[in-house]
Amino acid sequence: MRFNRARAEHDNSRPRGFSGAAALSLASCAALALSGTAAANTSNGYNLPIGVTDLSQAMYGLHMEVFWICVAIAVVVFGVMIYSLVTFRQSKGAIPDTTMVHSTKVEIIWTVIPVLILVVMAVPAADLILKQEDTRNSELSIRVTGYQWKWQYQYMNAGEGVDFFSTLKQDSNFARQLGSGIDPKTVPNYLLDVDKPLVIPSGTKVRLLLTSMDVIHAWWVPDFGAKRSAIPGYVNELWFKVDPGKEGIYRGQCAALCGRDHGFMPVVVDVRTPDDFKKWVEDQKAASKQAGAPAPAVPADPPTSARVIN
């Protein structure tokens, strides 16, 4: 709610007349949002999720800091504007002061103050970039490959040999067809569920190595503060460490337009305790041995057939 109030305040600082209708619509919007269905992530439906990693929490903190600075500036600037609109009206008999045309002093003031404010924002931001880019000392690496329209996860380190694809779940897939007649609200986690989620341990620094076999995709889980493009010919790095005690299912989506079914390649991550994760890895290995088949190999070419898979 804190954020919502801020938005309303932001909006009220518009000139009279603007704000009436806008605030009204915002109020009704807020009511709608509150009655909405529960979010699949830790976002409250109108703000960034605080998330479950150090990085996502730091991002949220910086986001709110910058947001409040913007609100403060908005209050001052819009305040002066509205004061002018109310006070210096011709209809109130205001006489223009046509001699007021220039002042080097105020020009310098309103150049220097914004620079200082920007420095205040830039310093913690640069600090956080350093942290985000530090992928050293990861404990588990997973290769993530984007395809039109699914993800492939290949584990290294403790998960060596585990390799599978992750695709939109069947029930969502049926419901999302044009004219399916299925109400999306009846489908659990509509468009945000997969047949086989990525499983990772909590309290462990996980590094993803992202690439793509066809077009540019982007892997994104808002609750981890983790988004990076998967680009053919490149390996991009990304890390996150889910706080212990925050085990559970976290959902995201492909975030780079990747063709017809860009909207239908979710990312789902199942965070388990390190012990459960170890057990899961063993189960996976046993299952693939039992099946007598090696893990699915990486296709040599971007499969053209992938373009018609729904």
């Binding site: 619509s25 439906g45 986001h63 002066v80 830039a122 509509y190 990747c258 063709g259 860009h262 239908f264």
Partner: protein, 531 residues
């Protein structure tokens, strides 16, 4: 020097007399007013075509699930909406305003290069016929986003060649328009009008014209490489052939970011004309306003990387692009503060141009705030490619650039037609537009922050409510624009006669108000004297 040239042209024009009759007047137009009118009518047409596409997008997003269109067609709509609005609606309307107003504001009889002017306009209908025709060919229109990123764009069929050819034509048209503006301003100012006395609208266009000449060839190069990759087996952007898809992004955004300012700098000029008029007070800090525009133009060349933070970038580059991007807030802030100071101790009245200018001032500033937030790299990783970005650039482009264009039309329309328009209808258009544009785009901030990616035809159910609100705003905004058309058509057909000064009660400055309304077919045949 400038004087002699202007006098020669004036003498030459005396032989022309009245406009040609019928279609020839328009096909062979060399008169800056005729060409300006054609540009403006063309861009209004494109505004409605692009708007219709936006209506399809918002209708599909009205509720979760796919109800109306196939995802592939949805992607065509988002891509074409952007291309049509950017290259067809916003840019040509600014060129149309430049054509009409720059000669009138600098006291020149016409644009410096009238035949090239004709050519640069007449390219556009062909370019957009080609682009829009892709909607009807097998495989459909471009669907990879207006940014045309490979490899996705290259997966397309026949549209690749047609879209690239259309982009080349639009680029050629823009470059010719820009050259015309620069040559006119540099050579045809009335005697005594030195550059610092020149109206801010001309200044903003002069700088914009240099930006256009600098970056349109870059776009042409980028799309030509796409063309050869697709048809001639080169591998500029094909990783399997040793090429680099990210290089396209660098080249594209080296064009793309200055392009963003090409769409807003003339708007700054327009606002700097209108606010002083209806505040009855000269523009505060006019010189620093010019420096601010020039600084923004310079900075626009060194910030392109902020579009691609999530694509992987060296640490130093991330910090550099963050800092340079944040710096843009400084000259932009200076502009907003100077506009505010212009109103301070003024005597304000609220005619339609002023209302749109005020709406610009508030709502563009909101777009500026979200711009500062987006510049913060670590958090940009969360914002990037979400509806937060969509909200941001629509705030700066719709209540920003488009409202400024509407303000300009309402400001100068009586000068063009000689008639006053219906103030009541225009004010209704203003209120509906301002209310609905916020209902349309403000909730998109929430959608983006809550995690909804952009460019998706269907979404998870937790995004339902805000999308419905946004769509309602979209339909309302779209329908309100019909009023705009009604006001313009009514005004062109007749109405209360406008005086030479048009805004008698206010304080319009500039040479355009010294000639009668409607502006005679040939104006400033004898250069005016500026003291």
């Amino acid at each position: 020097m400038a004087h002699d040239h202007a006098a020669d042209t004036a003498h030459h024009d005396d032989h022309h007399g009245e406009p040609a009759k019928g279609i020839k007047r328009w096909l062979f137009a060399t008169n800056h007013k005729d060409i300006g009118t054609m540009y403006l009518v063309f861009s209004l047409t494109m505004f409605f075509i692009g708007g219709a596409m936006a209506m399809i997008i918002r209708a599909e997003l009205f509720k979760p699930g796919l109800q109306l269109v196939d995802p592939a067609f949805f992607n065509q709509m988002t891509t074409m909406h952007a291309l049509v609005m950017i290259f067809g609606a916003v840019m040509p309307s600014f060129v149309g305003l430049a054509n009409w107003m720059i000669p009138l504001q600098v006291g020149a009889p016409d644009m410096a290069l009238p035949r090239m002017n004709n050519f640069s306009f007449w390219i556009l209908p062909f370019a957009f016929t080609i682009l829009l025709s892709t909607l009807f060919i097998p495989g459909g229109a471009p669907a990879g986003g207006w940014t045309m990123y490979p490899p996705l764009f290259l997966q397309g069929g026949n549209y690749v060649a047609l879209a690239i050819f259309a982009v080349h034509l639009m680029g050629a048209s823009s470059i010719m328009g820009a050259i015309n503006v620069i040559v006119t301003i540099m050579n045809m100012r009335a005697p005594g009008m030195n550059l610092l006395k020149m109206p801010l609208f001309c200044w903003s266009w002069l700088i914009t014209a240099y930006l256009l000449i600098a970056v349109m060839p870059v776009l042409a190069g980028a799309v030509t490489m796409l063309l050869t990759d697709h048809y001639f087996g080169t591998s500029f952007f094909n990783a399997a052939g040793g090429g680099d898809p990210v290089m396209f992004e660098h080249v594209f955004w080296f064009f793309g970011h200055p392009e963003v300012y090409i769409m807003i700098l003339p708007a700054f000029g327009i606002i700097s004309e209108i606010l002083p008029t209806f505040s009855r007070k000269p523009l505060f800090g006019a010189t620093s306003m010019i420096y601010a525009i020039a600084s923004i133009a310079f900075l626009s060349f060194i910030v392109w990387g902020h579009h691609m933070f999530v694509d992987g970038m060296p640490l130093a580059a991330q910090v550099f692009f963050m800092m340079s991007t944040m710096l843009i807030a400084v000259p932009t802030g200076v502009k907003v503060f100077n506009w505010t100071a212009t109103m301070w101790k003024g005597s304000l009245s609220f005619e339609p141009p002023m209302l749109f200018a005020l709406s610009f001032l508030f709502l563009f500033t909101i777009g500026g705030f979200s711009g500062v937030m987006l510049a913060i790299v670590p958090v940009d990783f969360q914002y990037n490619q979400t509806y937060f970005v969509v909200a941001h650039f629509h705030y700066v482009l719709v209540p920003g650039a488009v409202f400024a264009i509407m303000a300009a039309v309402y400001y100068w329309l009586p000068k063009w037609t000689g008639n006053m328009y219906s103030m009541g209808l225009a004010k209704t258009h203003f209120w509906l537009s301002t209310i609905f544009v916020n209902v349309l785009f403000f909730p998109q901030h929430f959608l983006g922050l809550a995690g909804m990616p952009r460019r998706i035809p269907d979404y998870a159910v937790q995004f339902s409510d805000w999308n419905m609100v946004s769509s309602i705003g979209g339909f309302g905004f779209g329908l309100s624009q019909i009023l705009f058309l009604v006001v313009i058509v009514q005004c062109a057909r007749g109405g209360k006669k406008a005086s030479a000064e048009v805004w008698d009660g206010a304080a319009p400055t500039g040479l355009e108000w010294t000639i009668p309304s409607p502006a005679p077919y040939h104006s400033f045949a004898v250069a005016p004297e500026i003291k």
